[in-house]
């Protein structure tokens, strides 16, 4: 088990290196010149040239990359070329709200998806099943931003039930909790459908397995048959999907944060890209990719927990 974990952790290293390389190269292919952005609209050619030297942009590309890696290794993510704030500091203040939003989104959508998928599989072909499928298709088809806008318009604006702009405090305060509800419904809403569908398929598969028949032949109550012997075994494929979907959720967080003015990494990324703030944009890419890698690592480790046969292998 420990070996498995270490192996996975080591595999994450080259992935991270790839992410850094691609993130770096992406910034190079963007037609905007950071020195021009930094210098402002009325700068002379000499000033732009000086800034270019100052930022190290006159050096060869490979050297720039290694210098960049060197600075990263020291925890230096650079400074915003728009307002001179260190990127690390900006990321530090936005990562908390993003994590809050993710947790608030997942904490209701995963259980709901598991529940809907399980009852759909159990009463396969029934009205319940068809309702579950309808809900999940709707969930998959509605774009995040659209759901967000509708919620803002109806719940926030028309009914004035809940706030819809910005974060109003930590999750454990009443204000903070109220403010996270609409963004969390928006972001989690796109999650329910895929989880429900995958759960339904996986549970349906397991319900036909021999060991479920054994469980019934032992006289176990249906509740235990379904939870302990069907859903529990179905968790391996479902967890895989949840891991993949959380990657998309990071993308959804960018949209949701923008729509709800949520002060998170996603909104920071959008702002940085729109204003050609290269170091800031690179920083947000690193954080979001790191999140993705961590989620995948967690999923890998969860396999071992969920399936004893993986542990042995």
């Amino acid at each position: 088990m420990l070996r498995h974990a270490v192996q996975r952790l080591l595999l994450a290293v080259p992935v991270m290196f790839g992410v850094l390389l691609v993130g770096f190269l992406l910034m190079q292919v963007v037609p905007t010149d950071p020195a021009v952005v930094r210098a402002g609209p009325n700068a002379s050619a000499e000033i732009i040239e000086a800034i270019r030297r100052d930022l190290g942009l006159d050096k060869p590309l490979w050297l720039q990359f290694f210098l960049y890696l060197g600075r990263l290794a020291q925890g230096d993510l650079g400074v915003s070329i728009i307002n001179n704030v260190p990127v690390a500091q900006e990321l530090g203040t936005t990562i908390g709200p993003t994590l809050e939003l993710m947790v608030a989104s997942l904490v209701w959508s995963i259980p709901l998806g598991l529940f809907l998928g399980t009852i759909g599989a159990y009463w396969r072909g029934s009205l319940i099943d068809r309702a579950v499928m309808a809900i999940s298709v709707a969930g998959v088809s509605v774009p995040v931003f659209f759901l967000g806008l509708v919620l803002i318009w109806v719940v926030g604006f028309q009914w004035q039930w809940l706030p819809f702009t910005g974060r109003e405090g930590p999750l454990w305060t009443w204000q903070g909790l109220r403010a996270v509800i609409l963004p969390a419904i928006t972001l989690g809403g796109v999650f329910v459908g895929p989880v429900a569908r995958m759960t339904r398929t996986a549970v349906l598969d397991v319900l036909g397995a021999d060991h479920v028949r054994t469980a019934r032949a032992k006289g176990l109550p249906e509740r235990i048959v379904v939870l302990r012997h069907a859903l529990r075994n179905a968790m391996v494929p479902v967890v895989t999907l949840i891991g993949l979907q959380i990657g998309f959720l990071l993308g959804g967080a960018v949209v949701t944060e923008t729509v709800f003015s949520w002060p998170g990494v996603g909104r920071l990324a959008v702002g940085a890209i729109l204003s050609s703030d290269f170091p800031m944009a690179q920083g947000t890419i690193i954080v979001l990719s790191l999140g993705f890698i961590l989620v995948n690592l967690t999923v890998d480790l969860l396999y071992g927990v969920l399936d004893p046969r993986v542990r042995a292998a």
Binding site: R213, T214, A217, G219
Partner: protein, 330 residues
């Protein structure tokens, strides 16, 4: 004394586009107390569906359409879901062909045994259940049972897994054990061990066994009574001695003829021509007549009833006793 289990006119059907298809079609059987009833037949003859019908575990779209299953006089088919759950594992337990897939791969075997116990004895403490589960593993001759308790199915061999299945089935001291091809998936040496174990456990507990198999050797070794099934019906029923000594149904004869024997010098084994007809394409009259060497015109007309040839020996064949048929056929 009433027999432990009496099956009367059991009919299990599957719904299809062309109406109901009967996998089990009017079966009467009796399981005496403390004895073993062997049910033999080729694949697709309805023997597994028969056993699942007794447990009321026929997978949809199948269902039991008619008949009675009397366990000590109580019709299992009329019980409520909760009552039936108490019967399953409590009074009637079942083990299956594939010990590989019949255990849940993600739970330790200890849990899988104790959960069966807990279902029928909710007040027992966790420590007590653990002790009882380890004792159950010991009873099926699993070495180092306390260590095995926490192991997962994939850590055990096929024979061990089937032992665990047996331990699980017998955890609540059932009166009847239904063993559906319990040794088919195992090596020959392991087969013999498992059969020995079942016989020993039967002697210890006095339970009855329904042994479902296509293997006549297993039946000869284990069963007191034998029922031969063909295409969803009982073709012949007798004590094991009578059935093997003087088989009366041509199908039984055919089955026996296809068993290799060491004490006879035969060039070739006799095989029954053709295959079991599927339940949706049954022939008119006797269901065996297209494959039967003794078939006459009358066999194509009506289904023969299961009738006593001798006391305690029943066969569903109008040509029975076969001695006369053999003389008539050149």
């Amino acid at each position: 004394m009433t027999p432990l289990l009496e099956i009367q006119g059991l009919r299990t059907v599957f719904r299809s586009a062309n109406g109901d298809i009967a996998a089990v079609d009017g079966v009467d059987l009796t399981v005496p107390r403390g004895r073993t009833l062997g049910i033999v037949g080729e694949s697709g003859c309805g023997k597994s569906m028969l056993s699942l019908s007794v447990m009321r575990l026929v997978p949809p779209p199948g269902r039991v359409a008619a008949g009675r299953v009397l366990l000590e006089g109580r019709d299992l088919l009329t019980l409520s879901t909760a009552e039936m759950r108490a019967v399953r594992g409590g009074q009637v337990a079942m083990i299956f062909q594939e010990p590989m897939t019949s255990l849940n791969p993600v739970h330790p075997i200890g849990l899988q045994i104790t959960e069966a116990m807990r279902a029928h004895d909710p007040r027992a403490s966790a420590a007590e259940l653990r002790d009882r589960a380890i004792a159950a593993l010991e009873r099926v001759r699993i070495p180092a049972p306390a260590r095995r308790y926490d192991e997962f199915p994939h850590q055990l061999s096929g024979g061990m897994r089937q032992r665990v299945m047996i331990a699980m089935a017998l955890a609540c001291k059932p009166k009847l054990l239904i063993a559906d091809e319990p040794t088919t998936a195992l090596d020959v040496t392991v087969q013999a061990q498992i059969l020995d174990l079942l016989r020993d456990l039967q002697q210890e507990t006095g339970m009855s066994i329904i042994l479902i198999t296509h293997d006549l050797g297993v039946v000869a070794e284990m069963a007191d009574e034998v029922a031969v099934m063909y295409a969803g019906r009982v073709a012949e029923r007798a004590s094991a001695r009578d059935l093997f000594g003087s088989p009366q149904h041509p199908y039984t004869l055919g089955l026996l003829g296809s068993v290799p024997r060491l004490d006879e010098d035969r060039e070739r084994l006799l095989a029954i021509e053709g295959a079991v007809p599927p339940p949706f394409a049954l022939p008119q009259g006797c269901r065996f007549h297209p494959r039967c060497p003794f078939a006459i015109e009358a066999c194509t007309k009506a289904q023969p009833p299961l009738e006593a040839i001798e006391p305690g020996h029943l066969a569903a064949c109008i040509r029975a006793p076969v001695e006369s048929a053999v003389e008539l056929t050149p």
